[in-house]
């Protein structure tokens, strides 16, 4: 039998390789922290309900890094994504439920697209083993559609435009512990999928450019949307979407150029690690701050600067290295689009910086909500902060030597700093902006266009239901009853004179026919 036939449990293989290792470490770390945090902060009565979803999600979220074949990968992907619905809706509010529905819808679509791509790749490779899949699809006639499916699926996972709302939706209502895992780990599975599944250096340039452009657009637009929302979690969500847009740029690079692919992969890994940890720290930080008062609160707010700066890409932070790696990757390509992207890349930091400022402001405004002892949350948060600070120094050096080397140069320092300064300046300026501009504050609900889409679907459903009801009534009403006419016809047909005359006429017909 060929290896791609379903063989139940025997189809599932798990292994650890070079690509998987950093992700495994990241996922395992984040899910563990998140589990402990969630356990500590969830009231005892709700723990069972939360962990009923948390455990499978975490299981999938960690083992996905180990998945060695298409089916395992799909399984882990699904196992992580579907129960996450329970985490998002844990609050049981109407908004949470709505968010959960949208999330689940997009997840289901993403899963479907991924499955389709996996099936095609398995067929083309005649194998299920992940390393073979991407290679085989590169030469297949079904290459384009497969890559499109993969990109769409990954795009939904990482919140690429126009689905940029999916990440804010999934963090906003989720309890902090779980949200940190979703923020840090969940979207990174998309990054892992890029590495595992996207073919390198085989696509036409246009594909690459389009993906890069989409990534850039997401990076900018998500930042703008994020600054216009009202909760710290939503801001972080949009920030994630923006950052993941940058990862998509790296993926775009890898698509067309085999030479640049290692650089791009390095960038993706670096970005994933950096962003996963930093974003997790920020999500938890928001919650920690809300639990603290007085000096501790001030200290915590100060500590938030570390992951925030990392995201902006401040020198000596993981973000700096990651961004540098990305720049290198983009720089490896030649042409109008890559060069434009290259030129625009630093500008994305303005958006990130603005988001961080906004986050800061919003977090600072939060008041204490709970009286649970903050000791365990703080400890866990500290662990994450430490990871954020240290991870850059544990970098596998051979992925991005150049980034490390140039990290400390003055020019690159400046490059990293000016966007942040612009953002601060802009924010300052905004305080004196006219009233009209200030009204923009908070006009974007977490989920943006997705909410509109969901509302449109509901409206269409109502319309359909109404139409089918009224349609049925009219059809029944207008149907003419022919029974009386039929009965009357028969009555006159069997009346004696008519019937017997008809018979004699039949006789004549037969005679006439017979003697033609």
């Amino acid at each position: 039998m060929t290896p791609i036939l379903p063989a139940g449990i025997r189809s599932l293989t798990f292994s650890l390789d070079e690509t998987g290792t950093p992700f495994l470490i990241l996922f395992a770390f984040l899910w563990t922290i998140s589990a402990l945090y969630a356990f500590a902060t969830t009231p005892a009565g709700e723990r069972a309900r939360l962990f009923a979803y948390f455990v499978p999600s975490a299981l999938g979220g960690v083992t996905v890094a180990l998945a060695g074949d298409a089916i395992s990968f799909y399984l882990c992907f699904a196992l992580m994504a579907i129960p996450a619905w329970g985490l998002i809706t844990h609050a049981r509010t109407a908004e949470a439920r709505r968010a959960g529905t949208i999330y689940l819808t997009l997840t289901a679509i993403g899963e479907a697209l991924l499955l389709a791509a996996l099936v095609i790749m398995a067929v083309e490779a005649d194998s299920l083993a992940l390393p073979v899949l991407a290679e085989a699809i590169g030469t297949s006639p079904l290459r384009d559609i497969t890559v499109a499916l993969l990109l769409a699926s990954i795009g939904l996972k990482i919140g690429t435009l126009p689905a940029s709302g999916v990440l804010p939706l999934s963090y906003t209502y989720t309890p902090a512990g779980a949200a940190s895992a979703l923020a840090g780990a969940s979207a990174k599975v998309g990054a892992l999928a890029m590495l595992r599944l996207l073919p390198a250096g085989v696509m036409p340039e246009e594909w690459s450019y389009a993906v890069m452009a989409l990534g850039m657009a997401t990076a900018f637009l998500a930042a703008i949307l994020g600054t216009l929302t009202t909760t710290p979690r939503a801001v972080l969500g949009y920030s994630s979407a923006s950052q993941m847009g940058l990862i998509l740029v790296a993926a775009g690079v890898s698509l067309t150029s085999a030479e640049a692919a290692p650089l791009a992969y390095g960038a993706i890994v670096a970005f994933s690690l950096h962003h996963g940890l930093a974003k997790s720290a920020l999500v938890l930080g928001d919650d920690v701050v809300s639990r603290l008062t007085g000096r501790a609160r001030t200290a915590a707010l100060a500590a938030l600067a570390l992951p925030a700066l990392a995201l902006v890409g401040a020198p000596l932070t993981s973000g700096f290295v990651a961004k540098y790696a990305l720049k290198d990757a983009v720089h490896a390509l030649h042409g109008t689009v890559p060069e434009a992207v290259y030129a625009l890349l630093p500008w994305t930091a303005i958006g990130t910086a603005a988001l961080m400022l906004r986050y800061f402001v919003l977090t600072r405004e939060r008041t204490a909500e709970t009286h649970v002892s903050p000791r365990v949350p703080v400890a866990l948060w500290s662990l994450v902060l430490a990871a954020v600070a240290l991870v850059v120094w544990m970098w596998p050096a051979h992925w991005n030597v150049h980034a490390i080397e140039s990290a400390l140069s003055l020019s690159s320092m400046w490059t990293a700093l000016w966007p942040g300064l612009i953002a601060v300046a802009g924010w300052m300026a905004l305080r004196y902006a006219p009233r009209g501009a200030r009204r923009l504050n908070g006009i974007v609900p977490p989920g943006d266009v997705l909410l509109g889409l969901a509302a449109a679907v509901r409206a269409a459903d109502r319309w359909l239901a109404g139409r089918s009801r009224s349609g049925g009534v009219t059809a029944r009403g207008e149907r003419a009853d022919i029974a009386p006419a039929l009965r009357a016809t028969e009555r006159s047909a069997v009346a004696w004179t008519a019937a017997s005359t008809l018979f004699v006429l039949l006789v004549l017909l037969l005679v006439a026919l017979s003697t033609r």
Partner: protein, 489 residues
């Protein structure tokens, strides 16, 4: 003669049930359960024979120039096994479900006759024999659909008959027409019409007629109208209709038609396979979307059934070996999944009178085992590995791709997404806090609970063991391989 027994044993059990009458409940149960056990043993024996290459067959003369034939080949035995095994399970369930109901003799009698007819359809060796049992199935199901005798039941029964007999009429013309141009055409893997040359237009019309005939029971849109209405029947009947016998007879007919009457090659070269595939694809999507909108539990399941049946039709119509095998495997897999769901629907109705999804909050705590089984089946239906639904969906997808029909793959995966869309809300509704207090003591009659758990476990076990010799997947591939010449999986 042995080939007739899987059909005859339930038939005799049915007649004996009538003869025993209403009052002798114990004897009735004993007769039916014994017959189910005997049938299972018999089918198992025939399967072993068939795996060893011995196909037990037998014919009797019937119409001039045509014989009525039964043949226990692997393809038919798969369906027969599904029908027989799930008959046993459903019997236990039904004994619990119908505990206080009236007219049980009638109910169990026709139930057994239905299974007899389904086994007849499964093992029929030629179009005529298949048609005959197909129609008997329509007839024996009718009393079950209208069993309660309420106006809704009678209306649903009328609708069911209207569709079933209309389809039967189309099938009759198709079968008769084929017989006039090709004579006796016993099903042959790869196609039985080798003697017919030319006459492409006629063959196309005949194909269309037969598809119309089988399509009614296979609930191929737009012939599906009867299925949601038929939900008024008692739950075991719904299970039977949807999971075991009736609808499967339709898709099984299509499988025989495409693979063993026309043969994949002829079906492709006549250009009849693709329209069928497109019809099935449309059915999948439309039915799934409609299912999203149903609040009535059983209606939602019914539309899900329509979509899932078209999985099988689509897989068969693609004329690609793995897709065909996947379709056949899905026949068995869907049976297991859907029967779990209908058992659940029946159980929650019978125990708590819950009929709508919106009435479910609290159900998960009130009936944890039942709902857990349902959840497993629901995820299996959505195609989550390593549950049973994934195995066949994967085969179907891979087969579509291998056959060059990526569009079909996309249909399958979209439908999987939609399945999540209509299944998960049931679960979420049940998981909410609600009116139903946690169970004190048993969550439902044990004769209803344990069959549910059994089939629920089966959805896991069959998924985990997919591909092992004897599993539906392996079985289906072995059965379908001869239709595709030298194909070996």
């Amino acid at each position: 003669m042995t080939a007739w027994l899987p059909m005859l044993i339930p038939a005799i059990a049915g007649i004996a049930t009538f003869a025993l009458g209403e009052s002798r409940g114990r004897a009735r149960n004993a007769v039916n359960l014994t017959a189910a056990a005997m049938s299972m043993a018999l089918v198992a024996r025939l399967v072993v024979h068939a795996y060893n290459g011995t196909v037990v067959a037998s014919t009797i003369p019937m119409l001039p120039g045509l014989e009525l034939g039964m043949s226990a080949d692997l393809l038919g035995l798969l369906f027969a096994a599904v029908a027989t095994v799930l008959w046993g399970v459903t019997l236990v369930y039904a004994i619990g479900y119908m505990d206080h109901a009236a007219d049980r003799a009638r109910f169990f009698g026709f139930f057994a006759l239905c299974i007899a007819a389904a086994n007849g359809v499964a093992l029929a060796d030629d179009p005529l024999s298949l048609f005959i049992f197909y129609e008997i199935l329509s007839l024996t199901t009718y009393p079950l659909v209208v069993h309660t005798g309420t106006p809704e039941a009678l209306a649903a029964g009328r609708k069911y008959l209207f569709y079933a007999l209309g389809g039967g009429a189309a099938l009759l013309v198709g079968v008769a027409w084929l017989a006039t141009i090709a004579g006796q055409t016993p099903f042959t893997p790869g196609g039985a019409l080798t003697t017919v040359s030319g006459r492409t237009a006629e063959l196309r019309v005949i194909f269309a007629l037969m598809v119309a005939g089988f399509g009614v029971k296979a609930a191929l849109m737009p012939l599906h109208g009867w299925l949601p209405g038929a939900m008024v029947a008692p739950a075991p009947v719904s299970s039977l209709l949807h999971a075991v016998a009736v609808v499967k007879a339709g898709v099984f007919g299509i499988i025989r038609l495409v693979n063993e009457l026309y043969g994949p090659d002829l079906a492709t070269s006549l250009g009849v396979a693709t329209p069928l595939a497109i019809l099935a694809a449309v059915s999948i999507i439309v039915a799934s979307v409609i299912a999203l909108r149903q609040d009535d539990f059983k209606r939602r399941l019914a539309y899900s059934t329509i979509a899932q049946l078209s999985y099988i039709t689509l897989g068969t119509a693609l004329c690609s070996p793995l897709a065909a095998a996947g379709a056949l495997a899905h026949l068995a897999h869907h049976a297991v999944m859907k029967i779990t769901m209908f058992f659940t629907a029946g159980s929650v109705y019978e125990t708590l009178h819950v009929k709508k999804v919106s009435q479910m909050p609290g159900l998960a705590r009130r009936m944890p085992l039942t709902m857990a089984s349902f959840a497993v089946a629901a995820f299996a239906l959505a195609g989550i590995p390593p549950l049973v639904g994934f195995a066949s969906k994967w085969m179907l997808g891979v087969g579509s791709t291998q056959g060059g029909s990526v569009w079909a793959l996309l249909v399958y995966v979209s439908s999987g997404a939609l399945a999540l869309g209509y299944m998960v809300p049931i679960l979420t509704s049940a998981l909410r806090e609600g009116d139903h207090a946690p169970a004190r003591g048993a969550e439902s009659d044990p004769r209803m609970l344990w069959p549910i758990v059994t089939v629920g476990v089966l959805t896991v076990v069959l998924g985990l063991t997919a591909g092992l010799p004897g599993s539906p997947v392996h079985w289906a591939m072995t059965a379908i391989a001869p239709s595709f010449g030298g194909w070996t999986p």
